[in-house]
């Protein structure tokens, strides 16, 4: 088991190297000269040349990549071209907000998705099932940021139940942070809930028709116990996969949802950087996101083996 995990961990290395190489190469292609940007408008050719030298821009591509990679590994992601602050500290400031939102969305997706999936599986092919199916195809078709706008207009501006935009850190004021988190989490998590409910329904219908469930029924267990305890357990492995995929999806969609709710997270940082062509920041955020996805995929892999020892 341990050897297996180690092997999987080692096999992540080429993916990570390729990912970093890809990011670095992409930014390398970008038009414009970071030295000129950094030197400012009134710089002499001499000053620009000095900066080019300092940044190592005259060195071969792979040498530059190696420098960037070794710095990145030690946590030095360079300096933002627009704020002149270190990229690592900018990311550090933005990360908690994004994580808070992604965790909120995951909770929404898993809880709402599980409840909807179980209900529609138990009442397969009834009106309830059809209603859940309709809701979930609508949930999958609505862009999350638009759902966010609709939620803001209905529950913040009209009903005043929640604040419209803004962000409070959960460590500074948990209660207030939650009220700020409800609408964006729903907006971001809705499509995930739709996907989870759809997949869970299919899984549960199959499991509920299996022999061991029939045995449990024959033993006289209540239907509720059978579904929530025994059938759901059988659906864990596929659910873990789907939740893992959702994390990747959320990390992308969070960018636009943050823009709607004015949340100062990685998405806001990324969008600002893209508009200002602040490449070191772009590099840093993309790298971090890819690393998170790769780690989550690995965690999903580990979960499989913990949940189902038959999987090699």
């Amino acid at each position: 088991m341990r050897r297996l995990l180690l092997e999987r961990l080692v096999s992540l290395v080429p993916t990570l190297v390729l990912a970093t190489l890809g990011i670095f190469w992409l930014v390398h292609l970008a038009p414009g000269d970071p030295a000129i940007t950094l030197a400012g408008q009134n710089a002499t050719a001499q000053q620009i040349a000095t900066i080019r030298d300092q940044l190592g821009l005259n060195q071969p591509f792979l040498v530059q990549y190696w420098h960037w990679l070794t710095h990145a590994v030690s946590g030095n992601l360079g300096t933002s071209l627009s704020t002149r602050e270190s990229v690592a500290s900018e990311i550090g400031n933005a990360l908690p907000a994004t994580l808070q939102l992604v965790v909120g969305a995951l909770l929404v997706a898993v809880i709402a998705g599980t409840v909807a999936g179980v209900v529609s599986a138990r009442r397969a092919n009834t009106a309830t099932d059809a209603a859940v199916a309709t809701l979930s195809s609508a949930g999958a078709a609505m862009p999350s940021f638009w759902l966010g706008l609709v939620l803001v207009s209905l529950f913040a501006l009209k009903a005043h139940w929640f604040p419209a935009t803004g962000f409070v850190s959960i460590t500074s004021n948990p209660g207030q942070a939650l009220t700020y988190l409800v609408l964006p989490s729903i907006a971001l998590g809705a499509s995930g809930a739709a996907e989870i409910s759809r997949q869970l329904r299919a899984q549960l219908i199959e499991i509920l028709a299996s022999d061991h469930i029939r045995t449990l029924r024959a033993k006289g267990l209540s239907e509720r116990r059978i579904v929530w305890l025994h059938a759901l357990k059988g659906a864990t492995v596929p659910m873990v996969t789907i939740i893992g995929l959702q994390v990747r999806w959320f990390l992308g969609a969070v960018v636009v949802v943050e823009a709607v709710f004015g949340i100062p997270g990685l998405g806001t940082l990324m969008v600002g950087a893209a508009q200002n062509q602040d490449y070191p920041v772009i590099e840093g955020v993309v790298l971090l996101m890819a690393a998170i996805v790769i780690v989550v995929n690995f965690a999903v892999d580990v979960c499989y083996r913990l949940v189902d020892p038959r999987i090699r």
Binding site: T15, L18, L26, P31, S137, W146, L149, I282, M289
Partner: protein, 338 residues
Amino acid sequence: MEQLSSELPGTTRGTPRPARRGRSGVVRHWLWGDLRSRLATCVVAIVLLMAIAAPLIARYSPTAQNFAPFLGPSSAHWLGTDDLGRDVWSRLVYGARASMEAAGIAVALALVVGVPIGLLAGFRGGWVDAVLMRVADTVLSFPGIILAIAITAVLGPNLVHSMIAVGITFTPSIARLTRSQVLVTKERAYTEAAVSFGNSPWRIVMRHILPNSIQPVVIQATFMLGLAVIAEASLSFIGLGVQYPAPSFGVMLQSASQFIAIHPFGVYPPGVAIALIVLAFNALGDSLRDVLDPVASTRRRVRLAARKARRRTLRARAPIAVGTGHPQAPAAGTTNGE
């Protein structure tokens, strides 16, 4: 559309094969088989019409301003006016054009690049396959929008660039799907026969492997059209796609969101349009799957019907007639979007 309706897949799974439909029959069942696909076809047809004939359908110029902002719907302005007094219906019509262009560019790019990569990886195997799939996995480890934003930032923000970026993020899925199909097709008897006749690899791939591998890819591409519409709206919303003041669903939502407190109606027309288009593409993807793979969907229906009957029996403790979904019944087009 020709390639969509080419031969049905080799059905070697032991179930009786449904009656083979002609080319036009497949298309008819795909687009007009049941209520859901009919509605979807209508939505897509209307949107395409809006996109193609935008100048004829729009009643005003999409960027013409008047001095009456935030009007509600009226006979003069069907969907009201926006913050600068521009006619929302006209902007929606031109927005549909941007949206369809965007979806077309992104999905076409993903197919043109992804299918050959998948064919090459699956057919050649060995290190070529290993390298290509490792690259595909790497691209897939970036959240799609993030990668698209980075690529757009490098290329410069506009509709074409952002959709090239989205197309790049779609490519690895297409390549992987194509490859997995090729691996199956490669082992089929007809491919072996073609090899033993001494056909060139090019001919084998183009004549035998590609036509028999492409169907799931086309189905996937249909779903991707919907994803691309959402991607266009998202990227335009954050200012990296269609550039203000040109109309697009994303740009419209961006300006509507600024004035959501005074004119909340503004967020609905573009949002509902996006949702309808995505629903329509998803429905067409589902019905295409049902039509192209009728054996699988018939079997699924039989299985589900049998299970449902069994559960009822267990619950009611009374025997009940098993639903008779006969394998040879015309399957496609009658499934209700499972």
